[in-house]
Symmetry: none
Subunit: 419 residues, 2 copies
């Protein structure tokens, strides 16, 4: 059976929402390659609640990581609560005290009395040095509180500030955990793969793949965002190989990456690999395609320029859209999208040109072209032009996100020869 | 006694560290002005663990908010676990089903069988409409499972994606919670005011105002984002009035809004109020100014067009920058920024023109113009042109955010006559 890990975060600031809990993602990602998963995470306020949270883990967890509550203020009671739970005495550790005194002296600060409380520890605890703060961490190995009950979890008390915790984890906690894992299991740790799939919903991916994948005995997870879903697979090498075959067979053409690159990064990488360039003419997306593409470092080698042709005058002046076309078909039409992309290609000399025109809302819809209607055109130097109509009836920001997602995916499919 | 609120987040992706838990800060900040505090937060994986997490709250919490596990996949069992805990039967709700079917039909998607599971609910549940996804939320009022025990908490089952949860919370959950608070307490609820301050850091605001404000007996909170800080104040009417005087005296010219409008919304509102228009020429910000401005509903009345002139050729061709200027001063220079804004104003006929040119990094820096250097130009029909140089040595996305923030604030100050 796998070692069960739980995480307890103390800190009223976390429960007030003013500080984001970055310990959970940091520790989860650090534990992962060791084959360890966090099975439960709890946040409790500073003070007495930590005692209950600790006691609850008894019999349920093999390893418990605690963050925060090691400082000098009156509500920092993690050290004391752990000792009380395990019926251990706190004693002054002269070496820790000397370290704290040195730290204050070297900064020319006066040491208040409460600061010295951080030098107390149970004799049974192993001290985890803190290179970036006063309070050291403590490791309390599993112990038996009474002959019948289960052992208590291996307990790691860690400081709250991430810039103290993270180096301490890497230097002191990780080696201890690795030793525990080695002692406990002969199985090789599992590997992770994440497939980013664009243009399919979470339910579609699960319906077409879920059961087959679970049949391999792997762990599965989904994470859906607007216009894409991440399929996460955990297993050994053989299982991952078999899973990959299934995933590619069903969704190959929709898989943007299996290395956590996002769509815009993949598009820029593929353009650069081919020495090709892109330009954009955006009406309803208002510059978001250009914004996403230029978020990628090195985009300037693949992205020439963009036009945010919000006003009709700009469509006509800059991209050669014909006023009659707007008059007879409307600015939101396949014809205008095609003229935008065509004019763009001609004007900029780029290899590919993307154009969008649509109705982001909340106003502006008609029965034939309701809010959410969009035309996306893709023209390329060496491939036929295409225009696609879509409907994304949602709020304005999500509409823009869905349209940019669809447009970038059209280009990716063209670049990969998947059209 | 205050109502005790607990939060349960389900989702293996949270425990794997691949997704940050944004529900906790969002909900904590939303609950705060109602006088509600979260006393415990727990994250459990998808699947059976949700059942234990729910049951544990019995007798310890008055209100429990649950996020996630309402979707169509096999590990989405929050709905079913809650019904099992409360001994309630799940029945098909034809109205929810119709809503889901409409949603799929209007997108032209095929509905898989599992999707319909989202239309089941306990008869006792109140349905919380989901404007941005298929699965509705559910509210289960407190009930007694047996005559002796305590009542179960008021239970709110909410969807996992933040863009579904947040609007649902604001539209449906908040009013229900306010009613619960009103029923439970006779104290008048405190009022909240949020000052959005641009161009000052959190520590500066705290240093210049913190003590004075706390002296009024109010509650204070800060929320810092890239390039802005929200100062949150809670108190009664008299206290808020006194606080407002202090805040305006110290930071008046930097306060963008006190009604939660963001900078781009304020800029669009002020432009529209004056019947004026804006156009943009962006090099290093890659379209992000246009993107932010066009996120505002009704932006088309104030925003004419934008140019993302990434390549030098585009700067010369579209905006009349002189090749010699680029040659002698470099594309990242005050001279080029000024020519971009000037050319833009002339070409588009807009009342205001913003131009940016800079080095977003990670490459491209020089000793005189290191990574993070930017020139921002603002030209207006009836006001003198200005060019400002700034240095934002940070990562690429944050650089873009800081530059767009500074540029929009330059325009806001001009519109408000604060220059």
């Amino acid at each position: 059976m796998a070692l069960r890990v739980e995480l307890i975060n103390t800190g009223s600031e976390l429960l007030l929402g003013s500080v984001i809990n970055t310990h959970l993602p940091f520790l989860a990602e650090s534990l992962f390659p060791m084959g360890l998963r966090i099975s439960r995470q709890v946040t409790v306020p500073d003070g007495e609640a930590i005692f209950d949270a600790l006691r609850e883990t008894h019999g349920r967890a093999d390893i418990v990581l605690v963050t925060g509550g090691l400082g000098p203020t009156t509500d920092d009671i993690t050290r004391e609560a752990a000792a009380r739970w395990l019926c251990l005495e706190l004693v002054l550790d002269p070496e820790i005290l000397r370290g704290i005194e040195d730290r204050f002296a070297c900064r020319g600060l006066k040491m208040s009395e409460r600061v010295a409380l951080q030098a107390y520890r149970p004799l049974q605890a192993r001290v985890l040095a803190n290179a970036h703060g006063t309070a050291p961490g403590l490791y309390l190995p599993a112990m038996r509180l009474n002959p019948e009950g289960p052992e208590t979890p291996h307990l790691f008390l860690l400081p709250g500030p991430p810039r103290e915790l993270q180096p301490m984890f890497n230097a002191s906690v990780e080696p201890l955990l690795r030793a525990l894992v080695a002692e406990h299991s002969s199985e090789p740790p599992k590997q992770k793969r994440i497939y980013r799939i664009v243009g399919c919903g979470e339910s579609q991916v699960e319906a077409e793949l879920g059961e087959d994948l679970l049949g391999l005995g792997i762990e599965l997870g989904y994470c859906a965002r607007s216009g894409e879903v991440d399929l996460r697979i955990l297993g050994n090498e053989r299982q991952l190989g078999a899973a990959e075959k299934m995933v590619i067979e069903k969704f190959g053409r929709h898989i943007v990456s299996s290395d956590e690159r996002n769509l815009e990064k993949v598009v820029v990488d593929e353009l650069r690999a081919r020495g090709q360039t892109l330009s954009t003419a955006e009406s309803c997306t208002g510059g978001m395609i250009a914004h996403r593409v230029t978020n990628v470092a090195g985009a300037s080698l693949a992205f020439l320029c963009g036009y945010v042709c919000y006003a009709n005058a700009a469509k006509i002046r800059d991209l050669g859209v014909q006023p009659e076309t707007i008059e007879s078909h409307g600015a939101v039409s396949a014809e205008v999208a095609a003229q935008l992309a065509g004019g763009l290609l001609e004007k900029t000399g780029s290899d590919h040109a993307i154009a969008t025109t649509g109705i982001a809302g909340p106003g502006g819809g008609t029965p034939e072209k309701p809010v959410g209607t969009v035309y996306i055109a893709l023209s390329s130097r060496h491939a036929p032009a295409v225009v696609k109509r879509h409907l994304f009836p949602t709020d304005r920001e999500n509409f823009k996100r869905q349209v940019t997602q669809t447009a970038l995916e059209m280009l990716r499919q063209r670049l990969m020869g998947l059209e």
